[in-house]
Subunit: 515 residues, 2 copies
């Protein structure tokens, strides 16, 4: 994994013509990923960690996990020393942790534009957009089923967002395309409308294989064999169940040395115990079993340990977001995953609100802040999530993406250079003066503070004269501006044609399947 990073890829989206085009094209400013110079926030004491780790081992040894409809997986487990009873797999204490050790602590996911490649793990955080909603929402059109046009719009918005590092996967479900063909159009959009890294399909093992094939066209077959070019999302069916579809995708990707995020998907009180410590224990057991399995399939396969956790409204059964219980789990899980030496996925722009209003923003800000401080390495859903994940919101996408800039600057930590200490400025200004005109301020003000691209700080009268716009309205204007200014990143014409041909041919070869 690490060694291959130094190798240059063969096709990189094309030859000299493409590179010349790249030099002359409009440059989109993009942060590569967040590099933390601040500590992680840790809520578990050493004693708490020991309790939870011991309990997780007890779960794996005594309760076990289920690998359903997957005899090959059971064979692998049996060989590795697990006890098999039907589809139930029980792991002797310590086995799962030992098997996890071959998973890399960090890996590079290559983008077709090398400047956009990301390093997942360590003290980094990579931000990817919302994943999975069947609906979209915008201020003008309200809530409606998502189409491939929406999908392409969100990929464009992601490409234009400075603080978003990753193009994501199913930014919304293109419901106007047959279920068995969507992945072709989705991947084609990520590959051609953006040059940021992206995710592959997981809804069938065969679609994972298609994703690898398309990457081979984009990056070159040899490059893909030697490098990770996709990070895909594999959910665990909590509690303690690994279904054959998701595991099939995992197996396909692991064999191809492509990365997967292995995530329990937990609504606390429903798929896990109603307590924080109980949920942490279950999450750890599930992640250890899943990661161990990925390493049985291919030792060294890159994998991200996930924890998607929400709490539940016990009146309605609805999942709730931005809650303190989810925060405690996210902080604690970060510690547990770091002790496993694995990159950690959690947090996101989570909210339950139907609109990009104050509720949505409180919930989201709670979650984004905890994501940064919890040491998350891959933050899926980092922008655009609305209504419990049922909806991709245009306005919230750009509002959240703006807030990711806050996380970047917070992660920078405190500059203690002589310039940072500013003792000259303090001496120059002295008691009762002001710093607006001093030399130090002039030299530093451009980069001193994070700047929003949406929020309003104008005087009340100006704001009122301009129509008293709320942040949803300001966000709508930004969405329109970004989509109007969008220009596709350059791509080699032959590669582009080969991708389009592949998609057309494959789609023509199969009947439409819906649902």
């Amino acid at each position: 994994m690490e060694a291959s990073e130094t190798r240059r890829r063969g096709r990189s989206g094309g030859g000299g013509a493409a590179r010349r085009a790249e030099r002359t094209a409009v440059r989109i400013e993009a942060a590569r990923y967040i590099e933390r110079n601040i500590p992680n926030f840790e809520v578990l004491t050493a004693e708490a960690i020991e309790i939870i780790e011991t309990n997780a081992d007890t779960i794996l040894a005594e309760i076990g996990v289920v690998f359903s409809e997957n005899p090959a997986a059971l064979d692998l487990w049996r060989e590795a020393g697990a006890e098999i009873e039907g589809e139930r797999v029980r792991l002797p204490r310590g086995l799962a942790r030992k098997l996890c050790a071959t998973a890399p602590s960090q890996y590079t996911q290559h983008a077709r534009n090398p400047e956009r490649s990301v390093v997942v793990g360590g003290r980094n955080m990579v931000c990817a957009p919302v994943y999975g909603p069947p609906f979209v929402h915008d201020a003008m059109g309200g809530r409606r089923y998502a189409t491939i046009e929406d999908f392409r719009n969100f990929v464009k918005l992601g490409y234009m967002s400075k603080w978003l590092h990753h193009s994501g996967g199913t930014v919304c479900e293109p419901t106007d395309i047959a279920v068995n063909k969507r992945h072709f159009d989705m991947l084609l959009a990520h590959m051609t409308l953006s040059d940021k890294p992206f995710m592959g399909s997981v809804t069938e093992p065969s679609r994972a294989a298609d994703s690898v094939e398309m990457c081979e066209i984009l990056f070159g077959k040899e490059f893909v064999a030697e490098n990770t070019v996709m990070t895909s999302l594999v959910n665990i069916n909590s509690p303690l169940t690994f279904d054959v579809t998701m595991m099939g995708a995992l197996e396909t990707y692991a064999r191809a040395n492509q990365a997967c995020i292995l995530s329990p998907f937990i609504v606390g009180g429903a798929m896990a115990p109603v307590t924080v410590a109980g949920t942490l224990t279950q999450v750890l057991a599930e992640v250890m079993a899943g990661v161990a399995y990925s390493q049985l399939v291919r030792p060294g396969a890159p994998i991200v340990a996930g924890a998607f956790v929400t709490s539940i409204d016990m009146n309605s059964g609805a999942p709730t977001f931005g809650t303190p219980e989810a925060a405690l789990i996210t902080y604690g899980a970060g510690q547990l995953m770091r002790r496993l030496g694995l990159p950690y996925r959690s947090a996101g722009s989570f909210c339950g609100s139907k609109l990009p209003d104050a509720q949505a923003a409180y919930e989201t800000a709670n979650s984004l802040n905890m994501g940064l401080l919890a040491g998350v390495n891959f933050m899926l859903h980092s922008c655009g999530w609305l209504e419990g994940g049922l909806v991709s919101s245009y306005e919230k996408f750009v509002l959240d993406a703006d807030q990711l800039g806050v996380l970047h600057n917070l992660a920078r930590g405190i500059d203690l250079s002589e310039n940072g200490q500013a003792m000259d400025a303090l001496a120059e200004v002295g008691p009762g003066g002001h710093f607006l005109g001093c030399a130090h301020t002039h030299a530093n003000f451009k980069d001193a503070f994070w700047r929003t691209e949406i929020f309003d700080y104008k005087p009340y009268e100006t704001w009122s004269d301009e129509g008293s716009r709320d942040s949803q309205t300001l966000a709508s204007a930004r969405v329109a501006k970004l989509l109007a200014e969008y220009q596709a990143p350059p791509i080699d014409a032959a590669t582009s044609e080969a991708l389009a041909d592949y998609v057309a041919r494959r789609k023509a070869s199969m009947p439409d399947a819906f649902g």
Copy 2:
């Protein structure tokens, strides 16, 4: 300070009749204060702390601070060993820190209802509402000058808010009352419409003295002499200046053993250097000088070390809120204040938005989260702040107050009892089951998760049928409900009359002064 906590006060808002009334009155649920079972988040390394503390001492020794129009203060400083030049006070290295040592690390602020008394310091956080806005805003009436009716409404809302521990001070400026008489009506409202602790007037030393007198009526003279019953806000004129009005209020309160928050009021880049480390250095120097001065006035006087810090929009000069730079300063200042052994005031429901919209909520949530994690002990402005502090917002008051509940549950940390570990539940449910019906969930679900009193988690169709209400609309409904349900806490009739008489007499004795 500490010793007097065990003494019971004489009048406590009345005798047996009042106590009987209290027993039969509607009970308002109220959390006492936040008790942290989670660590503080610390961004400064030991080396960074040493640099900043050394630099702060350099500022005090070489640049000095100004105590303007205050010859008595200069005399106190001269006696203590400072070097005086005009109004400039230069402190030998180490002197300020040494003088700070007599300030208590925590103190109890008594409320007239003993159940509402708060302990400021240690691992606690006390939340008080917004302070100072000349305007109010609600969804129906928009933005307008605040009146005493608004003031009383905000005191009532504060009383009704479970997660708000403190009634605050100038929850809005009652602009329909003469400037020189407002403090009487404001204090009367806090004393009679709520039974939570409150703040005194600081706009003139004489008004601080009036505040003490009114407390003597409410609590009894002897009780006030021996106990702290007010925590009031004294701002430093950053950079490095202590004006005679604010210091006069501080002197009055310190002599009466009443607490003050001593806070630099800093818009970064204007009143302090544009860098985080430079601002931290100035904040530390200012706080040390101010706290040291309070201890010269009365050793042992309770004092809270503050840091009100925002960044600035370098285009418009407007202050900005919820920014990463302010967060780094707030985290760092917490460490510096704890090393001084002082309770720490910072953070709040800060935002620049004109409306309680997504911008307001992102900014506020960023600040509330950092307040909890930074180890803040007294969070002024913890709800209701809008438009850079120009406006007290009805809707935002209840929205923010709801979010304070999130902080309470986050601060509780993780329960690692046998019940918290939930191993029985995990064994009972097993792979593929669900936890909704298990015994452990039934036993725990009522207290397991924080519950909003405003946010909407209903299914889309229900929400749509109910009018597609955004969170501002839901908040308006909650404001109306709380004000309609409000009942004043019981108070002894004689005390109530004595307070009203005092206010009427004092107001009649002076001409109206506006502005």
